[in-house]
């Protein structure tokens, strides 16, 4: 089985280069000049800054991802997603981007289709066309958090969704995806998995709701990776899965997520079949807890709800 790679996007020479840690070289932007195409790989981008509270959630989830994920996954540890990161992928490669986000309750996990996000940005060419896109689309790694429009506005000013406003300072995720799409000539396929954060202060700890939701975050990332590997690759229309047993309230948080075994049989036309590695952990109730709508957005495993809104 092909080994995945780890791309640590850090300053030069700050990266060691053992066999599974590869320093990215150059900035190829077209499919023609990209090095070593690996069409069977899925790229996982874990974004954020571990020194900024909940912004480090995606980095923290790394230890919770099962070992089997790395067999066919290239890992990228980045502060924020860059169009060039996506341009380095082959046209038929899929990716999962995970980051802490604002605009949804802390600890809530939401997933979006990258194609949908890119489409939302394309309609932002003129401010008159800004659609009512939900605020969580802006990753917290953006240097300028959306301004809170509490100042008295001119009479004719119509407040717009600040999270989708085009900024000179950084490209929001939808714009990044749209730009990469234009440069690659093809839509970036895959999913964005966001975990709602509450504290982005200068500290290395995660807030309690985010720490409690890490396992759920990890499972959703794994599911998204599984969806990306589905042959033929289609946005998941139906999601049959079994979740590992949730820890009881007050129990120690689980340290690892059992890796689901998934079938990639060419005879199997349903998008994804995930079988629990531990049958005794599976229950109908838990299976039905995971919801995925017919497009590509889903909200999984709301820790807050599960724990009675703690």
């Amino acid at each position: 089985m092909k080994e995945g790679k780890v791309f640590v996007h850090t300053p030069p020479a700050a990266t060691t280069s053992p066999s599974r840690k590869t320093q990215r070289t150059g900035n190829p932007t077209t499919n023609q000049d990209r090095p070593e195409p690996s069409t069977s790989q899925v790229h996982l981008f874990l974004c954020g800054n571990p020194d900024r509270g909940d912004d480090g959630a995606a980095r923290a989830v790394l230890t919770l991802l099962p070992q089997m994920v790395w067999a066919t996954t290239d890992l990228h540890l980045v502060a924020g997603i860059d169009p060039l990161d996506l341009c380095n992928m082959a046209a038929n490669e899929w990716c999962v981007i995970a980051d802490a986000i604002q605009g949804i309750p802390a600890g809530e996990v939401s997933t979006f289709s990258l194609a949908d996000l890119a489409a939302s940005a394309r309609s932002l060419s003129r401010h008159e066309d800004i659609p009512p896109v939900a605020a969580p689309l802006l990753p917290r790694t953006s240097p300028h958090p959306p301004a809170v429009p509490e100042t008295p506005h001119p009479q004719s000013y119509v407040p717009r969704c600040p999270a989708t406003r085009t900024s000179t300072h950084a490209l929001a995720l939808p714009e990044t995806l749209a730009l990469a799409e234009a440069l690659r000539g093809t839509t970036s396929q895959g999913f964005f998995v966001g975990l709602g954060g509450s504290s982005f202060a200068r500290e290395s700890r995660l807030s309690p709701p985010v720490a409690a939701a890490l396992a759920s975050f990890a499972r959703t990332i794994v599911f998204a990776l599984c969806c990306c590997r589905q042959e033929p690759r289609q946005p998941p229309m139906k999601f049959t899965t079994a979740l590992p047993t949730q820890p009881e309230h007050g129990a120690q948080p689980e340290r690892t997520v059992p890796g689901p075994a998934f079938s990639q049989s060419p005879h199997n036309t349903s998008p994804l079949h995930v079988q629990s590695p531990a049958p005794q952990q599976k229950s109908t109730e838990e299976t039905s807890r995971t919801h995925l709508n017919k497009t590509t957005q889903y909200s999984a495993h709301k820790e807050k709800n599960r724990k009675g809104g703690q």
Binding site: T10, A14, H169
Partner: protein, 451 residues
């Protein structure tokens, strides 16, 4: 936009696009003449000057970086040099070079973002960089590479690209290794040809035919292109020419509060508006450009045009990108780590004031320090608040020749003019002293900021 009585025409752009922050533009035309152009900033005041009061110098350096996500180095560098000047600290030449390298990184990433993503779509007729990228893939891809080079430099020196953490009073908390800068140097060799091509390409563009006279202000250093040292100088000649120490900005300039905006406007003591930024630096210090950038700019034949037409700021930024890349390469090549990360220092009471050249222009900090080196009062004058008057002046001048256009086209042209200054509205909304009069017709008044 609406017209009244056939004699008055007003145009409102309620949210200027592709600029940072939330600002609007109001234009009033009476009897065929543009009588008023107002760039209003309604983004909330951010109170940074109040936030730094009572903080240690290192806390101040960390706090002021948050004023801007794209030019945090400028805010940090200005603050750190103000403190060092007040405390009588002299850093090693190697530290000075490293700081200059860091500043180069910021210029590169800031200018690249504006040039390739914001201003070029105006020149090529696209509504956005995303739309432009579909037809000009190589141009946008090269722009992203250049921008990333700037981020990489800042990350290498400062620990991370946004809000770096290594700068401190007396030097750095962390120094890069020789090996890191060797890697940087190799990457710069790849990117410099892209910037050279971009500068050459700007010479083939066509800008709107608008010219005006304006007063330029920037730092000037006799031996190098100005970044973090030099004297504050102005264009023009005669007794009104400005020539000040970098901490003496307030001797020649002041800020005023205008109705309808949350940003203070800067003026000279004679009440003149003035422009800062890349065109000002090219106009006043163009001979100090790195030889490769100087030659590239000469090849475009735009050096004089940059001073006359604000739209040619695109060429000024292209020249400064190439300058910063070449200088970064030279510094990386000759780098030797300083003997110590930071020289020891002792705080003392006094006035800490300094000016540096942020990507968008002259940035001034002034702190009244107590005996522990903690600010009791702070004043921060960002470039955009200094450019606002010049922008409004140019809007009046430019709009007068565009009144025959439809509302939509006139709006687009005026927005383009504002964008050519690369304004950062978020930076400009700094401290305001607001007094609310408790009267039936309550209205906000803002006395001039205490200096």
């Amino acid at each position: 936009m609406h017209k009244t009585n056939g004699a008055e025409r007003s145009l409102d752009v309620n949210l200027i696009t592709r600029v940072e922050g939330e600002g609007s533009l109001h234009l009033l035309v009476q009897e065929g003449k543009v009588t008023e152009a107002r760039l209003s900033i309604f983004e909330a005041p951010r109170y940074f000057e109040k936030l730094v009061e009572g903080r240690t110098p290192q806390e101040v350096i960390d706090i002021v970086a948050r004023i801007c996500g794209i030019c945090p180095v400028a805010y940090q560098m200005t603050a750190v040099q103000a403190f060092e000047d007040c405390f009588g600290i002299e850093v090693a030449p190697e530290t000075r070079a490293l700081r200059r390298l860091m500043y180069c990184g910021e210029w590169i990433e800031s200018h690249a973002l504006h040039l390739y993503m914001l201003q070029t779509p105006d020149f090529l007729g696209y509504p956005s960089a995303v739309a432009m990228a579909q037809d000009h893939r190589d141009l946008v891809a090269n722009g992203l590479r250049v921008k990333k080079m700037g981020n990489t430099i800042i990350e290498c020196i400062g620990g991370r690209a946004i809000h770096p953490v290594s700068l401190c009073v007396g030097g750095f908390t962390h120094l890069p290794s020789r090996k890191e800068l060797d890697t940087l140097r190799r990457e710069l060799d790849v990117v410099i040809p892209l910037a050279t091509d971009t500068l050459r390409w700007t010479g083939n563009l066509t800008a709107p035919p608008f010219t005006r006279e304006t007063l330029f202000v920037s730092l000037f250093h006799p031996h190098e292109y100005p970044m973090n040292e030099g004297r504050i100088v102005s264009s023009g000649s005669g007794s009104h020419t400005i020539d000040l120490a970098p901490g003496a900005w307030a001797d020649a300039f002041h800020e005023i509060q205008l109705e309808g905006t949350n940003a203070l406007h800067a003026r000279t003591m004679r009440g003149e508006t003035y422009a800062v930024g890349p065109p000002a630096r090219i106009a006043l210090c163009g001979d100090q450009l790195h030889p490769e950038a100087h030659a590239g700019l000469s090849e475009t034949g735009l050096r004089e045009e940059i001073a006359r037409n604000p739209h040619w700021g695109i060429a000024a930024r292209a020249a400064e990108i190439l300058h910063a890349l070449c200088e970064a390469r030279d510094i990386a090549e000759s780098y030797r780590p300083p003997a110590e990360k930071a020289v020891p220092w002792t705080p003392r009471a006094g006035i800490a004031a300094w000016t540096t050249e942020a990507p968008r222009g002259t940035l001034y900090h002034r702190y009244l320090l107590d005996e522990e080196g903690k600010p009791r009062h702070a004043t921060i004058i960002p470039p955009t608040s200094q450019n606002q008057g010049a922008i409004e002046h140019d809007l009046v001048e430019s709009a007068s020749g565009l009144l025959h256009l439809s509302d939509e086209k006139l709006t687009a042209e005026l927005e383009r003019l504002v964008r050519s200054y690369d304004p950062c509205i978020s930076c400009a909304t700094h401290f305001l002293a607001v007094t609310v009069e408790d009267t039936p017709s309550a209205k906000n008044t803002a006395p001039a900021q205490e200096q």
